[in-house]
């Protein structure tokens, strides 16, 4: 142990005496570790962001849609569409899904006093606002009565308001949607950018009946039925119930597959979690390559250093250093270099995350495990890539080493 401490001191002096070279050697590791930390942190930050947006989507959300399969580059409907019959049946029979709303989406052109704009109109029931947790900040929204009578009313998003109505409160005014005039009955509370970067305020919401009857004629089927389960604990129950009821209504025999799909919020989180997780893994793996390159850099410099210091090694052996002393010295040099590089890299990575936060406002919490990975990796790199040069140094023949020019 005492010998180890003495050798440690020797190794440290050697690094200190070659400060510039040591720093340059460690640079590969510094950048590698910083890259690992920043990519893993960014990946985890994005995952958290997506997850929190999904959980903000709605309370205990379920989405029921027709089963589709990907065929020849197109999504093909595999069963009969989800339609009014299904909706009425669920409304009548469901115990676990107190709120239900169909969703009919269409791309439209909206025209207001300030101009016109391509946007999307969503046809829904009045439950929609509760299911998706969307608040109306001005106006009263529409009622069940409006839905029943298919009145030409709509709720608009903040983006539509800004672009088509300037600053005045447009509630009560008219908006033309694909040439049909609608009365504005509410403004949605601003939501900002969504998970995939889409603008969640660039939308119009109207009774589904109005869209089906007045805008496009009677179209069969909905894009989906949205529902919210009674509570978080009953999402599973709601899913089972919906499956049973729909199988019955669709007359699907036992053993046959469903012709519809039910996606719950939990499943959505799992899927996006998987996607972002894989993304993080890939980015981290790419960043780790730079760490390996850094390690090779250390090995390279250490090999040069061994050759350059051949005579020093010979002298040390001649005055009584054991092979193990030389091995330890060079191994410690490599490990200290990569470890110091690792620590500097961790600091650089944290700093990088801060700079990204300050400049783009995208908050990246520095992932604790990325710090541990960066730290562990740099030690490992030091040992693995330091061993070969150290062994080469230790195995030098003292006589040849002393003569080396």
């Amino acid at each position: 142990m005492k010998q180890f401490l003495k050798t440690f001191k020797v190794a440290f002096q050697a690094i200190y005496k070659n400060r510039t070279r040591s720093l340059l050697t460690a640079l590969g590791i510094i950048i590698g570790v910083a890259a690992v930390i920043m990519t893993i942190s960014a990946g985890q930050g994005a995952t958290q962001e997506v997850q929190s947006q999904i959980s903000g989507l709605g309370t205990n959300l379920l989405m029921i849609s027709t089963k589709t399969e990907h065929r020849g580059g197109m999504d093909v409907r595999m069963g009969r569409p989800i339609d009014e019959k299904d909706l009425l049946m669920l409304q009548k029979n469901s115990v676990w899904m107190p709120k239900l709303s169909p969703l009919v989406a269409n791309g439209v052109r909206a025209i207001g006093p300030q101009g016109n704009k391509s946007t999307t109109i969503y046809g829904v029931s009045s439950d929609y606002f509760d299911i998706l947790n969307r608040e109306i900040v001005s106006g009263d929204g529409f009622t069940e009565e409006d839905v029943k009578t298919a009145r030409k009313v709509c709720v608009i998003g903040e983006t539509i308001k800004k672009e088509l109505f300037s600053s005045a409160d447009p509630v009560g005014r008219q908006i033309r949607i694909d040439k049909v005039p609608f009365t504005i009955v509410g403004i949605l509370k601003e939501e900002g950018k969504g998970t995939m970067g889409q603008d969640q305020d660039d939308m119009l919401i109207a009774p589904y009946t109005t869209i089906q009857n007045r805008l496009y004629g009677r179209r069969r089927g909905y894009n989906m039925i949205m529902a919210s389960a009674l509570s978080e604990d009953h999402i599973q129950d709601a899913e089972i119930e919906a499956t049973e009821l729909l199988r019955e209504t669709h007359r699907i025999l036992e053993g046959e597959e469903d012709d519809f799909e039910i996606m719950t919020q939990v499943e959505l989180q799992e899927i996006t979690g998987n996607v972002t997780g894989i993304l993080t893994l890939i980015l981290g793996a790419i960043a780790s390559i730079s760490l390996i390159v850094g390690g090779i850099g250390i090995m390279n410099i250490m090999l040069v250093s061994v050759t350059e210091r051949t005579r020093e090694i010979g002298t040390r052996l001649a005055i009584g250093a054991r092979e193990s002393d030389i091995l330890t010295q060079f191994l410690i040099e490599a490990i200290v270099l990569s470890l110091a590089g690792g620590i500097l890299g961790i600091m650089l990575g944290i700093l990088g995350n801060q700079i990204i936060y300050k400049t783009t406002n995208f908050y990246i919490p520095t992932a604790m495990d990325s710090i541990l990975i960066g730290f562990g990796f740099s030690v490992l790199v030091g040992i693995v890539f330091g061993y070969f040069p150290a062994r080469k140094a230790a195995r030098l023949n003292p006589i040849d080493a002393l003569r080396y020019e």
């Binding site: 005492k2 005496k17 040390r316 052996l317 001649a318 005055i319 009584g320 250093a321 002393d325 002393l402």
Partner: protein, 247 residues
């Protein structure tokens, strides 16, 4: 009381094999060097003096024959034991000093104690300072290697060879890189250290330096050609005088 034998070799042979060709670098060397001796080994290049120094310095092993260093049978030692015995019993001095660059004289002199496993030295700094005093460098203790002249660097190297209180000081062409005047200073330093009781064995091909020793061994083709005491030993004064006569 008979003097202690620092070196004793019996029928020492060293054969290098290069493919099918065998080169006999040393043949049947019988050598005894007692405590307090100052021996110069001379010979042309290829005479085997370096090989002999390497074996005596425990850096190499003989092909056959026996070697006792300060009573230890060296043949039987393994690599680590050889390293330890070099550390404990031998002080090496090299032609090109072999000091650590950008390192102070003091740290250079301390170096052998880094590898001391006996724990017999407690204050390496004090010992290093004392060794530097012995070679007359007490005012250069904290100078770095590159701030010293060649002669001063070799003195640092000598101090490094002294610090572990070795049974034997081995000098391999210590004056080979120095000018005549400085060479004489170094040779004179060897004489003084020898007078203080150190056993010194030096290899040299400069007859005027060898003249400082008490005994001269002449090697040729791996055998001892002559082995005799020196009658007219040089002193610093006589050597300097001889130098002036030439120039």
């Amino acid at each position: 009381m008979p003097l202690k034998k620092v070196i004793e070799t019996r029928k020492l042979n060293r054969v290098f094999k290069n493919g099918d060709i065998e080169v006999h670098a040393l043949t049947e060397i019988d050598l005894v060097i007692e405590e307090g001796e100052f021996v110069a080994i001379m010979g042309s290049s290829g005479s085997g003096k370096s090989t002999l120094l390497h074996i005596l310095g425990c850096l190499d092993k003989p092909s056959s024959g026996e070697y006792y260093l300060d009573g230890v049978h060296v043949n039987k030692l393994n690599k680590n034991q050889l390293a330890d015995i070099r550390n404990q019993k031998i002080g090496f001095i090299f032609q090109s000093y072999n000091l650590l660059s950008r390192t102070t004289a003091l740290e250079n002199v301390e170096l052998p104690l880094v590898y001391d496993r006996t724990g017999r030295f407690t204050n390496s700094k004090e010992l290093a300072k004392k060794a530097l005093e012995q070679v007359g460098l007490e005012d250069r203790i904290y100078h770095k290697t590159n701030e010293l002249s060649g002669g001063q660097q070799q003195r640092v190297a000598i101090a490094r060879a002294l610090i572990n209180d070795p049974a034997l000081i081995l000098s391999d062409e210590a004056t080979g890189n120095l000018d005549s005047r400085t060479s004489i200073d170094i040779a004179d330093l060897f004489v003084r250290l020898n007078n203080e009781g150190k056993t010194i064995l030096m290899i040299t091909h400069e007859p005027e330096i060898a003249q400082f020793a008490k005994r001269m061994i002449y090697l040729r083709d791996g055998r001892v050609l002559t082995d005799e005491l020196i009658k007219n030993r040089s002193t610093k004064e006589s050597a300097l005088k001889a130098l002036e006569l030439i120039t």
